[in-house]
Each structure stands twice: as structure tokens, then as C-alpha cells.
């Protein structure tokens, strides 16, 4: 049975919470120093992209109502590191599968394409009143990995 470890934090969906999510990734890195740095940085970047997307979009048009919160759970096993971000904000209107990297001189619009490029799997689903994002990076040091 593969051993699974997890790290979790719940933060309000605000820009100033992004630092706490970086710190959660740092806690995982410190606790599991054997995880390859480049895989951790890929996951960290994808997680922060996702959290920033939630902060920007899930809270839109919600003035006067209860604040949106984000749950972040990171897991590490023998062959992968993964993240699940759950928020109770508005449904995301995105086309994850169709996300394309914009022109080099574009000042915005890279978030979703970058999330896909950094991860081996990424998914978004609306479940009841929650948005659920899952991000998976296969470990480059896993058995049978190329390179």
C-alpha cells in the first residue's frame, strides 16, 4: 500500500493569503527533502497560479456576502506530488482543455496554459457549491521515469 502524507491549510481568498500557500509548500519541502526540487517548484507554481485564479475570479461580484475561503491540500506519495484546491466561490467559467499560451508580448492570459504545462494532470470541477481543482506532478525520480 503506497504511503500518503498530506499538508493542509485554509485561507481567505485574498491576495495576502498567497504567502501562506507558499509557506505550506515550503513546509512540505522541509518535511520531505527527498522530493525533487524541480518537481516541487512545478507544483508550487501551479498551486499558486490556481490560488491566484480563485482570488481573482471566485470572489468577483460577491460584495456584501460571506468571504470565499480556499482549502489547499498537498499530498506526496512514492511516485507523485499533488494538490487539491477547494473554494466556495462562484463557478469558474474557464476552458481548461482549450487554454493556449498567448503571444509573447501579451501582458496577461498565461495562467491556465502555464498550469497545464507545469503539471502532468490538472482538472477543474464544480461540485455543489464548491470549485475543486486537482493538480498532479509525477515525480521525476519515480521508478521507470524517463531522464
Amino acid at each position: 500500500v503506497p504511503r500518503i502524507r498530506s499538508w493542509q491549510v485554509t485561507v481567505p481568498a485574498r491576495p495576502e493569503s498567497i504567502e501562506a500557500i507558499h509557506e505550506l509548500v515550503m513546509a512540505l519541502r522541509e518535511d520531505q527533502p527527498q522530493l525533487p526540487d524541480r518537481d516541487m517548484l512545478r507544483l508550487e507554481t501551479a498551486v499558486i497560479e490556481t490560488a491566484e485564479n480563485i482570488v481573482e475570479h471566485a470572489t468577483a461580484g460577491r460584495t456584501g456576502v460571506r468571504e470565499v475561503s480556499i482549502d489547499v491540500t498537498l499530498t506526496a506519495t512514492h511516485d507523485r506530488i499533488a494538490a487539491c484546491l477547494r473554494d466556495d466561490g462562484s463557478a469558474a467559467t474557464i476552458d481548461l482543455a482549450g487554454a493556449q499560451m498567448p503571444d509573447e508580448m501579451a501582458e496577461a492570459g498565461r495562467g491556465l496554459a502555464l498550469m497545464r504545462a507545469l503539471t502532468d494532470e490538472v482538472s477543474y470541477q464544480r461540485l455543489g457549491l464548491a470549485n475543486i481543482w486537482t493538480l498532479t506532478c509525477l515525480r521525476s525520480d519515480r521508478e521507470g521515469a524517463a531522464g
Partner: protein
């Protein structure tokens, strides 16, 4: 107050030292610092990314915005010292084509 420090070389090139994490919180600060330099007429800018371990699409967007502003003002913006992860993100987003690292030695000699 921002986490960015700037240094003007004798040849007029401005070095902007970026922070450890270039995310949505600090990206607007980078844009503000560079805009201020350009407004003062300092249009040849190098962003030193040697201390930047993390960059996301907000940070990339700020760099592109700064590059465009510098060029519109008749100057240019280059980067120096990207860490391996930052270089990976630049390549994944094709920004390595427009944000080419300049060696430190070339900055002082004004060869960019």
C-alpha cells in the same frame, strides 16, 4: 516601500533586483518601480532575477509590461541571472524568446 532595490551603473544602465517570489502580490510593485525609472528617463533596464526562486503568470506579465514600456520609451529591458526554475517557466511560456538573459559582464560594458 517595496522589496525591489535599484542601482544605476556608470553607463546609465539601471539594475532592478527582484524579490524571492514574483507573484500577484509583488508583480504590481515591479511594474511601479520600472515605470518610475522610465518616467525619470532611465530606459535601459536590467532586471536581476538571481534571487528570484519563484515566478508565475503575474510576474511574467509584469516583466512583459515593463519590456514594452522600456521599448516605447526608446530603451530596452533585459533580465540577468534567472534561476533554473525561472528559466523553465520562461521557456514553457515562450518568453525566453523576448526576455533573453544578459551576462553580468555585458551589463557593465554596456554591450546590450
Amino acid at each position: 516601500m517595496t522589496g525591489f532595490s535599484t542601482e544605476r551603473l556608470d553607463n546609465g544602465v539601471e539594475i532592478v533586483r527582484a524579490v524571492q517570489r514574483l507573484n500577484m502580490v509583488v508583480a504590481p510593485q515591479l511594474s511601479a518601480v520600472v515605470s518610475e525609472l522610465i518616467a525619470m528617463g532611465h530606459v535601459r533596464i536590467v532586471v536581476d532575477l538571481s534571487g528570484t526562486e519563484f515566478i508565475d503568470s503575474s510576474g511574467l506579465g509584469a516583466l512583459v509590461s515593463c519590456l514594452k514600456k522600456a521599448r516605447q520609451a526608446g530603451g530596452d529591458l533585459r533580465i540577468t541571472g534567472p534561476t533554473p526554475h525561472v528559466q523553465t517557466v520562461l521557456e514553457l511560456t515562450n518568453l525566453d524568446r523576448v526576455l533573453k538573459p544578459v551576462p553580468v559582464a555585458d551589463i557593465a560594458s554596456g554591450a546590450f
